[in-house]
């Protein structure tokens, strides 16, 4: 079980030195994989472009065009990710398309040193490399398995591969969570029923949270399912408030929500 009995999740909380708490959703290997594939495809396209350019230049500058291509290949394979992340605030084109971003582990933007180093260390995460011998080639480790990166990401809570662990970086999802406002209670009978509830109505924090959650989600549920769900809490409440047994369970919970979150807060919708 995770530390402090907290449920397992893919979100983390980062407290800045200014004592501000940020919640981030972490990007694990499966969310990062499509971004990586996009970047690899883009690198391949760039290499093809440079190769065509080098071929065109070969007429004029001869063998030097080969050097241009080799230099481009070297720069793209080692510095494409690092430079993109350094200049685009932790994003490569693939990461931007997939809505993920590299951050320092303390929540600050990633710096150039971190961006470049974590990308250079990617070569370790692609290992162990299988020798080309297995395919009848020379004894050179060539075929990536990505097992080191996968195991490293699986072994820590923040999905950090070795490059991330060395440079203290994390990859997070940029999605902004949808924060619901006050859930609207359209049924006027709920407002009427709220008046029949005890005037000194007080509920525990967990029940207030449960009611708020119910009011927020009920509009996505069918009436039968609402009744089924609301029954668990509404039945003991009917007994406690001495209300008739045929009171609608859904209506009762809506009335309580209205009373606790809208009426008692003086925030009544027109």
């Amino acid at each position: 079980m995770p530390a402090a009995g907290l449920p397992i999740d893919t979100t983390i909380e980062i407290v800045t030195p200014e004592n501000i708490t940020f919640h981030y959703q972490l990007a694990g290997p499966f969310r990062r994989l499509p971004a990586y594939v996009i970047d690899v495809c883009l690198q391949a396209l760039l290499l093809v472009g440079v190769a065509l350019l080098a071929a065109a230049l070969a007429i004029g500058i001869g063998a030097a065009s080969w050097a241009i291509w080799l230099l481009a290949q070297f720069l793209l394979s080692w510095f494409y990710g690092g430079l993109c992340e350094a200049y685009w605030n932790g994003q490569t084109p693939g990461k931007r398309l997939m809505g993920i971003r590299v951050l320092a582990a303390n929540g600050r933007p990633v710096n150039a040193y971190q961006a470049v180093l974590r990308n250079i260390l990617r070569v370790v995460d692609t290992g162990p490399l299988i020798s080309a011998e297995v395919l009848g080639g020379p004894p050179v480790p060539l075929i990536p398995t990505f097992a080191i990166g996968l195991v490293a990401m699986a072994c820590n809570r923040r999905f950090q591969r070795l490059g991330d662990l060395v440079t203290h970086t994390i990859v997070v999802v940029e999605d902004r969570p949808w924060l619901p406002g006050m859930a609207p209670i359209e049924d006027p009978r709920a407002v009427e029923l709220a008046e029949y509830l005890p005037p000194d109505l007080r509920v525990s924090r967990s029940m207030a949270r449960a009611l708020s959650h119910y009011a927020e989600r009920r509009r996505f549920l069918s009436p039968a399912r609402r009744r089924e769900i609301a029954r668990h809490l509404a039945q003991p409440l009917l007994t406690r408030f001495d209300l008739p047994d045929n009171t609608s369970y859904d209506l009762l919970l809506c009335a309580m929500y209205h009373r606790l979150f809208i009426a008692d807060h003086g925030d009544v919708a027109p």
């Binding site: 397992i8 694990g28 499966f30 969310r31 999905f159 119910y214 549920l221 769900i229 668990h232 039945q235």
Partner: protein
């Protein structure tokens, strides 16, 4: 037991988030999950070993053999078909374990098996007969050993394809039978049967289930290749042996496939929870039930 205190944070998740979370669950519950998988998978692994022994016999020298790639591919392909067919039935203990672990801190495997025992006949009937595991094993037994290709192998492949399509449209059969304990027949009561429940659940999220299935297939292929590659690498580095040989395939291929089955079973369980949260407000129900129980404990 507190119904609103679960070991996994209950909220709506996307497809990739579900897969990433599966990795966390596999890490934190690695040993019990491996134990639960072993309960179902070891008998099938032994059976598969016997059924495929003739394709890749232990005394075959791959370095000297002709048509090495054809023999190895035939072995890997047959093993893939068998494991694919058997996976849901073999992973039924994993589903039962995860179901109990949701609310209990550390369920014992003995308790899990005890709880599973009651619904095991239904599971066997639906998976072994309904989803073609028995027929698949029978076809594997009947493959003629003297020809390179046979009709039985084609039928086995078609059966596997049909099972995959069925699984793609209704993947949560284990969860319905083991966790919801839906009966196969309603009898005289008004109980919802497994079939009705399956139509209700899978009909609600047909699109997302299809997406999950397709992504899971890609992930399964990548994970299996990665695990097999890593085992090949480890052996190469430790034993300085980079050649193809029979033990590598006899152990490496099924091991990689079963590890992938474990991961996908966890992912399927989490996808099932997500579907219930999205379409049935399951997380709201848990909170309502927990609050109702607290009220009942407090008294009037």
């Amino acid at each position: 037991m507190h119904l609103d205190r679960t070991f996994i944070a209950i909220r709506e998740r996307g497809l990739f988030d579900t897969l990433d979370l599966s990795l966390q669950v596999c890490r934190l519950h690695a040993w019990p999950l491996l134990g639960a998988l072993a309960l179902g998978a070891v008998p099938f692994a032994l059976l598969n070993y016997l059924l495929t022994d003739w394709i890749l016999p232990g005394d075959l020298d791959l370095a000297a053999a002709e048509e090495v790639s054809a023999v190895v591919l035939r072995f890997a392909w047959t093993m893939l078909l068998l494991v694919t067919l058997e996976a849901p039935l073999a992973a039924v203990c994993v589903t039962a374990y995860l179901g109990q672990a949701m609310f209990l801190e550390a369920p014992r495997l003995r308790e899990v098996v005890g709880d599973l025992g009651r619904c095991l006949p239904q599971v066997f009937w639906c998976q072994l007969v309904g989803r073609g595991v028995f027929l698949g094993l029978l076809l594997a037994v009947l493959i003629p050993r003297d020809s390179l290709y046979s009709g039985q192998e084609v039928f086995l492949a078609l059966l596997c394809l049909a099972a995959l399509v069925r699984r793609l449209t209704a993947p949560f059969l284990n969860e319905i039978l083991v966790l919801e304990k839906a009966p196969l027949r309603a009898g005289r009561t008004l109980t919802v049967t497994a079939g009705q429940r399956s139509r209700l659940l899978h009909g609600a999220g047909a699109g997302s289930i299809m997406n999950l299935g397709l992504v899971a297939a890609v992930v399964a292929a990548l994970l299996t290749l990665s695990a097999f590659g890593a085992s090949l690498c480890l052996r190469g580095m430790l034993l300085e042996n980079w050649s193809w040989d029979v033990p590598l395939f006899r152990v490496g291929v099924p091991l990689s496939l079963w590890l992938t089955v474990l991961f996908l079973s966890v992912a399927r369980f989490l996808a099932y929870l997500d579907l219930r949260i999205r379409h049935e407000g399951w997380e709201v129900e848990l909170r309502m039930r927990a609050e109702g129980m607290r009220l009942a404990e407090e008294g009037p």
